[in-house]
């Protein structure tokens, strides 16, 4: 950015990082709430009964790879390579959508198996945490699609690669949150009923 600022950093990017700092406390609270309640499954299914690790591993992997495509999209636009930028943006959005699709599938399976939102403190905490993450991913997809649209309208050029960078930061953040969720919620041995 050409704008002169005291620190030499762009407003927008700095704001995004401050926001991500704030998000740490949001997800921290949700994760802690979940941890507190992972044993409180009342009469419903326990986490250990219901999680499908292989399935979630695949969707986690998909989300992780979307971080790669995201950074490739950024590298492309920074080179001025609009074509590849579009390609990678689209791929990222698609990978995100696959992840969300997986989550929707997971949720419906859980509900079919008797784990509804109101089944137990565990279920409420689980759906709230992963739901919040899912909403973040979905918002990310919306933003990526908006980028694509403005790219096709010729508005996204090397000059404003920073917009891609900032949305990328958000995207990667949502990814690292999932890295934590995947380990702490899914992989750490779970109680069974």
């Amino acid at each position: 950015m050409s704008e002169e600022t005291t620190t030499g950093l762009s407003h927008n990017k700095l704001a995004m990082w401050v926001f991500l700092g704030s998000e740490c406390l949001l997800f921290g609270a949700l994760i802690s709430t979940y941890l507190l309640y992972r044993n409180k499954f009342y009469d419903g299914p326990a986490p250990g009964d219901i999680f499908d690790i292989p399935f979630t591993s695949v969707s986690s992997f998909v989300l992780l790879m979307s971080s790669l495509t995201m950074v490739l999209a950024l590298a492309a636009i920074q080179r001025g390579d609009i074509r590849n930028n579009r390609l990678w943006l689209l791929t990222t959005a698609l990978l995100g959508a696959v992840f969300i699709g997986g989550q929707v599938y997971e949720f419906t399976t859980f509900i079919r198996e008797g784990l509804g939102y109101t089944t137990s403190p565990f279920s409420s905490a689980f759906f709230t945490l992963t739901g919040f993450h899912g909403v973040h991913v979905s918002l990310g997809i919306v933003m990526l699609m908006s980028l694509l649209i403005s790219s096709y309208r010729g508005k996204l050029t090397q000059k404003n690669s920073e917009t891609v960078e900032i949305i990328g930061l958000y995207w990667h953040f949502v990814d690292v949150v999932w890295i934590i969720i995947f380990t702490v919620i899914y992989l750490v041995p779970n109680p069974t009923s």
């Binding site: 704008e3 002169e4 600022t5 005291t6 620190t7 950093l9 762009s10 407003h11 927008n12 700095l14 704001a15 401050v18 926001f19 700092g21 704030s22 998000e23 406390l25 949001l26 609270a29 949700l30 709430t33 507190l36 309640y37 409180k40 009342y42 939102y117 109101t118 089944t119 137990s120 403190p121 279920s123 409420s124 905490a125 709230t128 908006s146």
Partner: protein, 649 residues
């Protein structure tokens, strides 16, 4: 709410006076579309004062009910709503936004910037806050106000125990004002870091800016915690989630922890702005620089930091176990140290000075002594065994009104008197200001002083009535009388505002430097012109403005090197490129309460709310950065260099 008091004075004369804007034409449109940090500051101030009076009237109702035993002014149900709304209104809709008013108005000026980093986001923060405030208060009309206390302990806030829609309004309304606070905090954080004038290093920033900066950081990290707590509450109430359903093994302490992890940083969010304000006022009227600037700054940071490790002192009796109690008891006590550093530095600043007790100064000295009382009673709560006797009694009520009213409201009044000429171009009447102070001081101590005694005598808080015979009668009556004296003092303030505006009408603005002030904001004329600085000054020292006025002669005597008029910019620059107004922040803000009402009453209502929000966001993004017909849209190459700053977000 501001344009109703407008007067017929042309814009040229008073470009900024809220009470003197032209009524006709598109005056109100100017206000609802403004992205000017100063106007937004004024809007924050006006709204906060409005809510302060609402909260104050609620307080008077509380006091009327409690004036005598077996009071009958309010029923139990109404009483519970009134005290809950009193707490919520005062904390979230009066004290926080009043601080936000100062932050918005003064941060850019004190660091030598033309505006905040994201002007439109700034407007959005205000409108969202206002929408949230109105939304919460709508509950009075739509089925009952919240009745679970301002910290709304679960499970008493669940649908079974609080069946009216009140707590829904609480959960959603505070969520909305929370968005406003978070967005504004990010905005101001970036502003402070990124938009300082050349030479303005972090350690040349005025103490007020520093304290406000710490507050923004606290907000950035604390708001998400209350957001989660409120989401859990909302999901429990709207969708039957089991976060607080103890029958299924949920733990009611979850809410308490989340609330107070936010809640304790919150009390420093409330008090630090006031500490900052008096750190500007006291040096000015003592004619000395602030004593121990570095220590002032670092103690502020220390308070903000330590504030994260003490939250469970609100839970000493809630059964968290002796080890936790011990740990939090100790951490709480030591917060007195950095706070004490501040108190003593203020005293040292005045000591040996030539102290002028003008009204801002009186209020500041009021803060020093009254806050100390509250802080010391705070230390007695920190003795956890003693707190088992004190908690949830009027002794606590006394503590927090001493820190809040004595520490915050007094400080904010100091700020109002001090910067009034800066904002509106005319002074408030000094004599009335002093009367205002003394009446308030007496009323305040009469109201809250006796509460110490009541609390130690065992009067519980949040009781709508008490029986005769426990020895509560006399002091309650005194407190009630005192509260009306406070009301009188607030009334004196309002009268002062009105008469001062009247007196100033048609007269030229007061001089640029009515107080022999010290910091950068006074380098612009009063009232501040729309573009702030004609030319961004280069800063060499703390108290830059003062150092440009005063120098030392050979004998080390302080002598005037320039008059304020000479130092002060003329405010005449033209063609400064400023961000253009926008409707979308307001439209966005209107969408949120609709969304909220939809969640409470009828999901269909979320539709228009959602549409407004999405439309506003997209329009916002695609709105041209410059309105070609805008007042300052001329985009000459020459002006490009001084148009720095504001981003187009």
């Amino acid at each position: 709410m501001t344009d109703t008091i407008s007067e017929e004075v042309t814009e040229e004369q008073r470009p900024l006076g809220v009470y003197t804007r032209p009524k006709g034409g598109n005056g109100w449109r100017d206000w609802i579309t403004t992205v000017d940090h100063k106007k937004i500051g004024i809007l924050y101030g006006a709204a906060a004062l409005f809510f302060f009076i609402i909260g104050g009237i609620e307080a008077l109702l509380i006091r009327l009910q409690l004036a005598t035993p077996n009071g009958t002014v309010l029923g139990a149900d109404m009483y519970n709503q009134v005290f809950t709304m009193h707490g919520v209104t005062m904390i979230f809709l009066a004290a926080m936004p009043l601080a936000a008013a100062f932050a918005n108005y003064l941060i850019p000026l004190q660091i030598g910037a033309r505006d905040v980093a994201f002007p439109r986001l700034n407007a959005m923060s205000f409108w969202v806050f206002l929408a949230g405030g109105i939304f919460i208060n709508l509950s009075w009309l739509l089925g009952g106000a919240p009745d679970g206390g301002w910290f709304g302990y679960a499970p008493n806030t669940g649908v079974i125990f609080s069946p009216s829609v009140g707590m829904d309004f609480y959960a959603i309304g505070l969520q909305i004002t929370g968005i406003a606070s978070l967005v504004s905090a990010i905005n101001l954080t970036v502003t402070v870091l990124n938009m300082r004038a050349p030479g303005m290093t972090l350690f040349k920033m005025p103490v007020l800016t520093w304290m406000l900066f710490v507050v923004q950081l606290l907000l950035v990290f604390a708001m998400p915690v209350i957001a989660v707590a409120l989401f859990l509450l909302m999901f429990s109430r709207q969708f039957g989630a089991n976060f607080f359903n103890t029958e299924m093994g949920a733990d009611p302490l979850l809410w308490q922890h989340l609330f107070w992890i936010f809640g304790h940083p919150e009390v420093y969010i409330l008090v630090l702005p006031s500490f900052g304000i008096i750190s500007e006022v006291i040096p000015t009227f003592s004619r000395k620089p602030i004593f121990g600037y570095d220590f002032m700054v670092f103690s502020g940071i220390a308070i903000g930091f330590m504030g994260w490790g003490v939250w469970a002192h609100h839970m000493f009796v809630s059964g968290i176990g002796p080890l936790s109690v011990a740990a939090f008891s100790l951490s709480t006590m030591f917060i007195a140290v950095p706070t004490g550093v501040k108190i003593l530095n203020w005293i040292a600043t005045m000591w040996g000075g030539r102290v002028k007790f003008s009204s801002p100064m009186l209020f500041s000295v009021g803060v020093i002594s009254m806050f100390t009382i509250g802080g010391l009673s705070g230390v007695t709560h920190a003795l956890s065994p003693a707190d088992t006797q004190q908690t949830d009694t009027y002794y606590i009520v006394a503590h927090f009104h001493y820190v809040i009213f004595g520490g915050i409201i007094f400080g904010l009044f100091a700020g109002l008197y001090f910067w009034w000429p800066k904002v509106f171009g005319h002074m408030l009447d000094e004599k009335m200001g002093k009367i205002n102070f003394w009446v308030m001081l007496v009323g305040f101590n009469m109201t809250f002083g006796p509460m110490h005694v009541l609390g130690l005598q065992g009067m519980s808080r949040r009781i709508d009535t008490y029986s005769p015979g426990f020895g509560f009668e006399a002091w309650n009556m005194v407190a009630t009388i005192g509260s009306f004296i406070i009301a009188l003092s607030v009334l004196i303030f309002l009268i002062n505002v009105v008469t001062s505006v009247k007196k100033a009408r048609g007269k030229p603005p007061c001089g640029p430097d009515p107080w022999d002030a010290r910091s950068l904001e006074w380098m612009t004329p009063n009232p501040t012109p729309e573009h702030n600085f004609d030319e961004i000054p280069t800063v060499e020292s703390l108290d830059e403005f003062w150092h440009r006025k005063w120098g030392t002669d050979d004998e080390g005597q302080i002598v005037r090197v320039a008059t304020a008029e000479e130092v002060c910019q003329k405010g005449t620059a033209t063609g400064v490129h400023l961000p253009s107004p926008s409707y979308w922040p307001l439209i966005f803000a209107i969408g949120l309460p609709l969304l909220g009402l939809g969640l409470i009453f009828n999901l269909w209502l979320t539709l228009p709310g959602g549409i407004l929000i999405v439309t506003a966001l997209y329009a916002w993004i695609f709105e041209p950065v410059d309105d070609p017909d805008g007042p300052h849209g001329d985009h000459h190459e020459v002006n490009e260099e001084i148009s720095e700053g504001a981003s187009d977000v």
